[in-house]
């Protein structure tokens, strides 16, 4: 437990065929890992819309993991190739909007890589814990006077 006692909340969007099974393998192999991650299962990385990641940050997630099958392993043959292009754009563009891309981990974890999944979880949790909480997005709501009408002093 760190001095500040901050425990990051991390959302993980994983593909059902490889990473979810890999994570399951990590569990059955009794591999110890951080408990900050909440796994959301999707059919394929191709179904992981950047909007899901934005929604996670919008609702107060401090970090996000996106993981799926290695290229050429995709159950739907090309899901992860399309996803790779989308994540490439997402990763650079999110940085431009001012969201630290170190809060997001993209990875390929196959069904047999239980240990790799545990490492991903631990590394991401440690990194995000060090980056600190990220409630900036969720608190962007300024009720009452909005529309940027504030010229300051």
């Amino acid at each position: 437990m760190t001095s500040t006692g901050f425990e990051p909340k991390i959302a993980a969007f994983v593909c059902n065929w490889c990473t979810y099974t890999g994570a399951d393998l990590a569990g059955t192999s009794r591999i110890q890992m951080a408990t900050n991650v909440r796994i959301i299962r999707l059919p394929c990385t191709g179904r992981i819309d950047p909007l899901f990641i934005i929604k996670a940050f919008e609702r107060g997630a401090d970090g996000v993991i996106v993981s799926g099958c290695h290229p050429a392993d995709c159950h739907y043959t090309a899901g992860n190739y399309h996803a790779r292009r989308r994540f490439t754009l997402f990763n650079d563009f999110i940085e431009f909007l001012g969201i630290d891309s170190r809060r997001i981990t993209f990875s390929w974890v196959s069904a047999s890589e239980g240990q790799k999944w545990a490492d991903i979880v631990n590394d991401t949790t440690a990194r995000v814990r060090e980056l600190g909480p990220f409630s900036g997005y969720r608190d962007l709501v300024r009720s009452g006077l909005t529309g940027g009408q504030d010229a300051g002093t």
Partner: protein, 290 residues
Amino acid sequence: MRELKNLAKRLLEEGTVKVVIGYEEGPVGVRPVFVTRPADAEKLVFNSRCVQNLAAYLSRRRGHIARLGKSAIVVKGCDARAVAGLIRESQLKREDVVVIGMRCGGVALRPSDEGPLTPETVADRCSGCESREPKLADHLLGELPPAPPKATRMFELMAQIERMPVAERFRFWAEQFERCMRCNACREVCPMCFCERCIQDKSQPQWIETSPHARGNLSWHFTHAMHLAGRCSSCDECQRACPAGLPLGLLNRKMAEIVRNRFEYQVSDDSTVPSPIGAFKQQDPQEFIK
């Protein structure tokens, strides 16, 4: 532009097209015009104040224009990229539109900006434009004017933002999106935004909060830029149409830069080249994926 008026009159008289979508001198600056009668072809003009991207009027969502019948459209190089985009994504058949390409010497920022083009009044997209003579055209009119002066304000703003640390950059965009009132002019004026029902209008689930507070606005503008990745013809109409004066063109410019660096793809007016997000390569970059 005598050539343009005669061509429009001939096309209408022959019945090749039912409407010519072009520019006219409006009460406050140049504005779009829909010429259906040959006599009205006299209204058509083409000068450095023809800023609007008329390709937005070709999208199927404009039922009341499509009903007029086959159309001819006056395009500059940047507009031709949008027409190619509509054809590439099968919103429009090539033979359903007569493209009147205009050789362009750069346009001003606003359709009401009189006077010659200077680095302060020229539009951002015109600096270093290589498509001043559109290739996608059935007719190509006008001599090629000299290259426009270079406007540097967008490059300076882009550099300034990129120099900021990430937290300050978040605050910069948060303040910008604090001004947005979600009138959606950036969506309605964009030729590549032709979805029948935008994701904002889908309420089950409501992915993007429609309330105009900074959080909902950031999610919307982020998604808009992602949906335009590798498709945006960088005509900067979204930036011009924004009543709050947000630098929306910057978002698309950054996305275009990422697409160029990562996938060596440049949006062009050649509709046969597939857009990058629809396709993929085995050896796409993936150094950021663990």
